[in-house]
Symmetry: C2
Subunit: 157 residues, 2 copies
């Protein structure tokens, strides 16, 4: 992992930890602009947030959607030179949001606890990097074990 991806994933993970402390779904995300080359020179964290299902009683504020909201209205060109970081493989809704805004690159903390729309991302030319991060895995595994019904609700099961 390069310095940009380390920073982006750490930022997402900090939000996931915060959500866990609040009793929420511990998934975090960050949208980072970096221009044509994905490195730290000129990088800007445009938004970062976490799943808000329990904190805001929201069925659609998954980490990635909440992060796009946190970033606000951006020009199309900005999304296209940014990376979405997320601690867990994005669900089909969040996959759709990434495709809507043509975000070209997605870095995923882990896909061991759950696999979302990664294949659809790849089919549409999005670069998908799975880090297999131990802390992302542990945090999510703990939550699924502690609150299986809450987790099922979040994935429509």
């Amino acid at each position: 992992m390069n310095a940009l991806d380390k920073l982006g994933l750490a930022t997402a993970l900090a939000k996931a930890r915060k959500s866990y402390q609040e009793g929420g779904v511990p998934i975090g995300a960050a949208l980072v602009y970096h221009g044509t080359t994905p490195d730290t020179s000129n990088a800007v964290v445009l938004g970062c947030s976490h799943n808000q299902r329990f904190q805001k009683s929201s069925p659609t504020l998954h980490a990635e959607i909440a992060t796009l909201e946190d970033a606000g209205r951006l020009k199309a060109a900005v999304y296209r030179k940014s990376t979405m970081y997320t601690t867990l493989s994005p669900c089909i809704m969040c996959t759709g949001a990434i495709l809507l805004y043509k975000i070209p690159r997605v870095v995923i903390g882990e896909n061991e606890n759950w696999v979302g729309g990664e294949e659809l991302l790849k089919q549409n030319g999005v670069e998908v990097i799975v880090v297999d991060d131990a802390e992302c895995k542990d945090l999510m595994k703990r939550f699924i074990k502690e609150k299986p019904e809450e987790w099922n609700e979040d994935i429509g099961e």
Copy 2:
């Protein structure tokens, strides 16, 4: 169109008109529970709303997402016996949200001004009905002509 679909689409269209009057993107939606058979006996409008890009400066509150928010947290079984009504063909993000919650039926006012993720819905077994409604078409056509940049922003272009 049966009485349920007439009511559902009219509810979505009322929200689209309201959004237009507010200077916003005139796309409305409604989520209607109906149980196993899609008819008006036992039907409940669970939520209805419109695109909130300009009203709430939101990049993710498309009509369908705003409607899922308006409906709040529901049990998985409720989504699975409901229909999503929307005045315009749903984008890939909203398509993903419909797939996440396994909403089995989508009624679309029109897909002449724009086509979204209808094929992906069908591939996943969702029943898709395109009404080709004149008022939905006129309202959207007028908006795209009056505010082309705002429309492009909403579809990530």
